[in-house]
């Protein structure tokens, strides 16, 4: 599903050392991968490369069998329709209700209204927010907001779900709920790549762990632990 070949990334005007160095990895369909490593080790960079938010300085990246380096810029949106993204800060639109936030993701890719009215309630049911459809983000707890953002990322049934520290803003109990939800989504066959530094989660879940340090992959362990 995801394959990196000798990928390096250095930011212009950034540090001298590369944010990602010579990364090689192969992630199969339906896998669940934790990216761990200290701050600045390149976890977010890794995720942004998959999404083509950034382009690698060197090397090639394949997503769903396609070399995304070859993708012309107008095709990038179509790549992104296959990739859902979740962030620490939710990135919800405050002026829109829960249902509208989720519907927005379908509207802006031109899905017909009939599809929207069917899929939005279904996905909100899945993430357990069926009773909050008309609430605004500020009226929700952090855990509920993150569920909305997962619903938005998943409503289009992407092949891959990328999560950059999705529990960074949440307390331990709420985090567990979010992880259960991601696990459920993963079981439907969706590949999940999640950057985190929550030791408890990694150690409990026991999934594949890729550890980065100063941009280098220093560990790639099936059913691993935080360190």
């Amino acid at each position: 599903m995801i394959k990196l070949e000798n990928v390096s990334k250095s930011y212009k005007g950034g540090t001298n050392t590369a944010a990602l160095q010579n990364a090689n990895i192969d992630i199969g369909k339906g896998e669940f991968v934790f990216l761990v490593g200290p701050s600045g080790s390149g976890k977010s960079t890794f995720i942004r490369l998959l999404n083509k938010e950034e382009d690698p300085s060197d090397g090639r990246i394949f997503v769903a069998g396609k070399d995304i380096g070859q993708l012309s810029s107008w095709k990038v949106p179509y790549l992104r329709r296959n990739i859902g993204c979740i962030f620490q800060d939710f990135k919800l639109l405050e002026k829109r209700t829960v249902a509208e936030n989720v519907a927005f993701a379908l509207e802006v890719i031109g899905r017909p209204r009939s599809v929207i009215t069917k899929q939005v309630p279904a996905i909100l049911e899945l993430v357990g927010l069926a009773d909050k459809v008309d609430s605004f983000p500020t009226q929700l707890s952090g855990g509920e907001q993150q569920r909305v953002s997962i619903a938005r990322a998943f409503v289009n049934r992407p092949l891959i779900l990328l999560a950059d520290e999705p529990t960074g803003n949440l307390d331990p109990t709420t985090s567990v709920g979010i992880m259960r939800l991601l696990d459920r989504i993963n079981r439907t066959g969706t590949t999940v790549v999640m950057a985190t530094h929550d030791r408890g989660i990694v150690d409990t879940m026991r999934r594949r762990v890729v550890e980065l340090d100063k941009g280098t992959i220093v560990r790639d362990q099936a059913q691993g632990v935080y360190e």
Binding site: S73, P77, Y78, R80, F104, V108, R113, N156
Partner: protein
């Protein structure tokens, strides 16, 4: 697809309303700049029409003595008509001269009252084949000393002066309106930049979920287009007002008889209106396209 169009229109409307003060400023500036621009075009048309009746027309006038006898008159007429250097000539009788005098100096009725047809000399208005000033003066001077001729006057100076003044005004208007057009384009650009800034979050989400580039861009470009179009619409209204009240007002005026020929016909007005609309649309699209392409790195 129907959803897309309604979405685009809704988004454009929201953008326009959300930054209402910038929308008003952009539309005001573009409509004023285009109104000035269009009016300067109309003024040029009007001046062109007004001076046309002189242009290439009377190049010099041979004034006869009112007392000149028929033989003298016939001799002059013959030498003018037979000269190969003369393209055409017109005889203006005392009555015709008085008529013209009355028209031209309608602003001074006391003078019209004071002058009678018999006070005014008859004249020949002569158009030389070669418009070169030296040749004209040379040709005109030939008649000066012939019997029955009171004087030969070269009229071109006065007309050139009128055209000079008129051109000065309409060129001034043109420069002012070009400066304002630049300001309008900058403004539209900025309106879009601000609109993009205000919707950064939404755009970020749109990019994340895979909205296509045009889907993100189009509402902003439509916004610029609307600015340009509404601004140009007001400008066209202003231009019709300028034609109907200002230019026509001048030409009906009793006092400024020199401006009598200042007329802009409907065909010219429609032509200039279409120009202004086209420029408004172009400024709107160029301003917003530039803003979108630099600020939305989609």
């Amino acid at each position: 697809m129907a959803l897309k169009i309604s979405y685009m229109l809704k988004e454009t409307g929201t953008n326009l309303v959300r930054r209402i003060s910038l929308t008003i400023a952009a539309i005001l500036t573009i409509s004023i700049s285009l109104a000035l621009f269009g009016s300067s075009l109309l003024a040029r048309d009007g001046v062109a029409n007004a001076t046309q009746r002189w242009e290439g027309g009377i190049e010099f006038v041979v004034w006869m003595n009112p007392e000149a006898d028929a033989d003298q008159d016939a001799a002059i007429r013959r030498s003018i008509e037979e000269s190969p250097a003369v393209a055409s000539s017109t005889y203006v009788s005392q009555e015709e001269a008085f008529e013209e005098f009355r028209e031209m100096f309608a602003d001074s009725p006391e003078l019209i009252e004071a002058v009678e047809a018999s006070d005014l000399p008859p004249s020949y208005r002569v158009v030389p084949t070669d418009p070169d000033a030296d040749v004209v003066v040379e040709l005109g001077s030939q008649f000066r000393n012939q019997p029955g001729v009171r004087d030969v006057v070269f009229a071109s100076e006065a007309i050139k002066d009128i055209q000079l003044q008129a051109n000065r005004i309409s060129n001034g208007l043109l420069w002012v309106s070009i400066a304002l057009l630049i300001a309008s384009a900058l403004l539209i650009l900025n309106t879009i930049v601000v609109a993009i800034g205000a919707r950064r979050q939404e755009i970020e989400v749109m990019k994340l979920v895979g909205a296509s580039n045009w889907f993100i861009r189009l509402p902003f470009m439509l916004e610029g287009l609307v600015h340009g179009l509404i601004g140009a619409g007001f400008a066209v209204l202003a231009m019709w007002g300028v034609r109907n009240w200002v230019i026509d007002g001048f030409s009906r005026s009793q006092s400024l008889a020199l401006l009598e020929g200042l007329k802009v016909n409907n065909a010219e007005l429609i032509n200039r209106s279409l120009w202004v609309l086209a420029i408004g649309v172009a400024v709107g699209i160029v301003g917003s396209a530039f803003a979108v392409s630099t600020k939305l790195d989609v």
